[in-house]
């Protein structure tokens, strides 16, 4: 009996110490990174309970094991067998039935927490999201804005309606906690209420190809005033973009081109467009070609026809009209 009392105390002490240790490491009361959405609160609440349960169960197994190994250890020179204890049905039933109720309780809490993260606000703002190898684009249906940055007003539920142009992607902002796959052929929904102004990133969480690691886009949670001024700014840009160059630029955003091609000379997944038009381009087969109308058109419609040296052949073909291509070329000419 004495042994059981000591072990009982040690189990509790170890459980508490483990929990405190995990809390110091920053993974107990919340998962970290910071909670930036209303949904992250019920999720971290459940996580905290789970960590407590984990600490207790960890101690419950480890402590009697270690205690027995130390206290009942084989004495030097002792070659006899240990005490013949075959089992105990009462104990077995106890440690089947108690965990059953514990598990049901956890499942109930899990259902509650899931319900909280799925709570619907009928006034949620709708934004369309498109995932494609390897960019995210965001479309605001009310204003017609198309952007590669997702701007959200704080304390307002948004409903992202997400579609994929090619393979499965997954929309994940770690600070929001929630994650949802984006599946070709259907629209999946992601409902979130940002509660903390700040700058985050959406990171694609489902392997989607060679540049999967780089499929990240800024997610900016603004105050209501900042958000409104961003919207106004974008609307003004759209309005001022009714020239060929302006429309071309919008097309490059809408089609996700600038996810791989920089406009300032930085090297990304694809060649930069800065100062590209009219210059000589070195191809992978050793030849060179002038970046003229014909070359650009071909590279949009059939990207694998001429591969630029040093870049992987990962760009999918884009079906654009002649006018759209002409607009994009007009835009490329301005990038000097």
């Amino acid at each position: 009996m004495r042994h059981f009392v000591i072990v009982g105390i040690l189990v509790l002490v170890t459980a508490v110490l483990t929990y405190v240790g995990l809390d110091v490491a920053g993974v107990a009361t919340q998962m970290n990174p910071i909670e930036a959405s209303a949904q992250s609160i019920p999720i971290d609440w459940l996580w905290n309970w789970e960590i407590m349960a984990i600490c207790f169960l960890f101690a419950l197994i480890i402590v009697p094991m270690a205690y027995s190994m130390l206290v009942f250890r084989r004495k030097q020179g002792d070659t006899t067998d240990a005490e013949h204890i075959e089992g105990n049905t009462t104990l077995e039933i106890t440690w089947t039935v108690i965990p059953l109720f514990a598990v049901l309780a956890l499942a109930y809490m899990g259902a509650y927490s899931l319900g909280e993260t799925r709570r619907i606000d009928p006034n949620a703002m709708i934004i369309k999201v498109k995932g494609q190898q390897f960019v995210w684009t965001f479309e605001y249906p009310d204003t017609g804005i198309i952007s590669t940055e997702l701007h959200l007003p704080v304390d307002q539920q948004v409903l992202l309606k997400m579609e994929s142009a090619d393979v499965i992607h997954s929309f994940w902002v770690p600070e929001f906690r929630v994650k949802q796959d984006v599946v070709p052929g259907r629209v999946t929904e992601y409902r979130i209420t940002p509660i903390l102004v700040g700058s985050y990133k959406v990171r694609c969480a489902e392997l989607c190809g060679a540049s999967h690691a780089y499929m990240e886009s800024p997610v900016i949670v603004d105050t209501r005033a900042d958000y409104n001024s961003w919207i106004a700014e974008q609307v003004a840009i759209v309005a001022a973009s009714q020239t060929p160059e302006g429309l071309g630029k919008l097309l490059t955003v809408k089609n996700g081109c600038i996810g791989c091609h920089s406009v300032d000379g930085t090297k990304m997944t694809g060649p930069t467009w800065f100062g590209l038009f009219g210059t000589k381009v070195d191809l992978a087969d050793g030849s060179t070609v002038t970046a003229d109308d014909a070359y650009v058109t071909e590279s949009i419609l059939d990207p694998k026809a001429k591969l630029v040296t040093g870049f992987a052949p990962v760009m999918p073909p884009f079906k654009l009209t002649d006018i759209e291509i002409a607009n994009i070329i007009a835009y490329l000419k301005t990038l000097k």
Partner: protein, 630 residues
Amino acid sequence: MKKFFSTALARGLFWQLIGTLVGAGLVTGIRVLMGLSATDKFFFTEPAWVLGGFFGVLFFLAGNGSVSDWFKWARGIETPEHHEEQYTGWEKYLNVSLDHKVIGIQYTVTALLLICVGGLFALIFRTELAQSQLQFLKVDMKLFGQNGPELYNTLMSLHGMIMIVSILLGVAGIMNYVVPLLLGARDMAFPRLNAFSYWIAVPAAVLLLMSLVLGGFGTGWTGYPPLSARAPVGVQMFFLGVFTAGWSSILGALNVIVTVVRMRSKGMTAMRMPIFVWASVATSIIAMTATQLIGLSFQLVMFQRLFGMGFFDPAKGGNPVLFQHLFWFYSHPAVYVFVLPGLGVISELLPVFARKPLFGYRWVAMSSMGIALVGFLVWAHHMFTSGMNEYLRLPFMYSTLLVAIPTGVKFFSWVATIWKGKLTYPAAMLFVLGGIISFLLGGLTGPPNATVSVDLHLHDTYFIVGHFHDTIFGGFVFPFFAALYYWFPKATGRRMNEFWGKVHFWLMTPSFFVLTLGMMRIGLLGMRRRIVDYDPALNFDSTHLVLTIAGYLIGLAVLIFIINFFYSISHGEKAEGNVWNSRSPEWQVPSPMPTHNYDQPFEVVGEPYDYGLAGSKYVEFAKPEKSKNK
């Protein structure tokens, strides 16, 4: 060298090459006649490679002689029930043998070889991950038609599948060697099917490795379409390899079940079977009935690519999420195929080294069956974020959490077995204890993934990677090493070096816990799985460096084990008696085990684990003269 080229292994590989060329040539010929292109990026076209791969497997099996007895029977020629061994020494293991002990060792050594290959792949990509940005798997490099990130994806995917196949072979190895000995059987129920199950795994492994040089496949081992429908031709070799390896698993499982049902010794009732036999039956039920689904799901993608059948192509009315259901219907229970035998090893060895009966034998036996059955009902917990119907999430959360109950029974029983035990700590026992702790960490980090809302954060992160490495190491890798240290003297008559065994343990275990706990930590913070590079702004560089060092230490520990293993076969300390003072029947006869197992049949007269009960016995061997009268 000449001897090597005449072995069944070398002949099989030669014929596999011929078969591949014949199959590919056939398709290419037809394509030329039809006016289609004859060659592609990797010389042959994709249909040619697929038929070539398939023919390669058939030619391997026909060429190495593992099916020749069946052909003889079909032609009306009789063959002896059991061939006498034609070979001795290492040649025995490279040729077709019908002896379950030889086949068990063939499986085990192949598994070790694949563990090394899979581990090497892991070290390559772990090195790349040591720092953010790309270090050597760069975009402008080119190997096997892949640039750096593509090669990373291929290696990462192959690490997964090679390790899975290696685990399946390791499980089959231990079960093959040990189950007939524990039952007192002369061999498995179907010795030829047994040899076939092993040999079909060899061309399967070759196909998997071929995928690496045929453009690779950056899809992860899960091979989700549409990504896998767009991957290079290597993905077809991957599908074909898994499909082929599946046969090995299904047929091997069938053999184990029949052997256990039909070939137990006199007096061995169900509740007097050694606990490892229970685990083997539970695992075999899963392997025999679920493996078809992964074969099927991969085959459907193969056909989608080859014949344009749009099973998972939304443009043709297909559904990508359907693939995930089919895939996980096997691939979740598969996890229990990996761990149940390992947990069986823990339950089998713990009483021997604690010198106490296994606490609650019946409960431990039933918990294996319970895990196997509940395991069939939980697959969609891999799909909480997949976009499947939302109402499916809750039932799968409940069923998944239920797995905790039989698993808990095992843990409590182990603790109760250790309680008041007089433990000794040879390397085998260290690995048993390491397995318990590792599986405990894996098990405890499971429920957060099962509760849907928390999983929405954890899914597809390094938290999952850490969690499942803990389960698989605890459920398979640690017990596998324990089993090898434990049964090595039975197979060779020598024991492995204890000192280096302990070095292996003390080097591997702490490194492994650093690795998996570190993975979980950064997973929570936003480290996604399957990425070649990570955002430097996340500040993961120093953690990743530690993880990489830990990875190398594990590699070093396994290398020490491999050297110890092969060195001890001929140089180890002689150990022909009951080295572990075990009650189990195989230790009551001298090592190494004779070719046809026990000279005298035995009868079960007591409980298997009655350590500490004076005068009790598990088995009693028939007296030689008595058996002559029969």
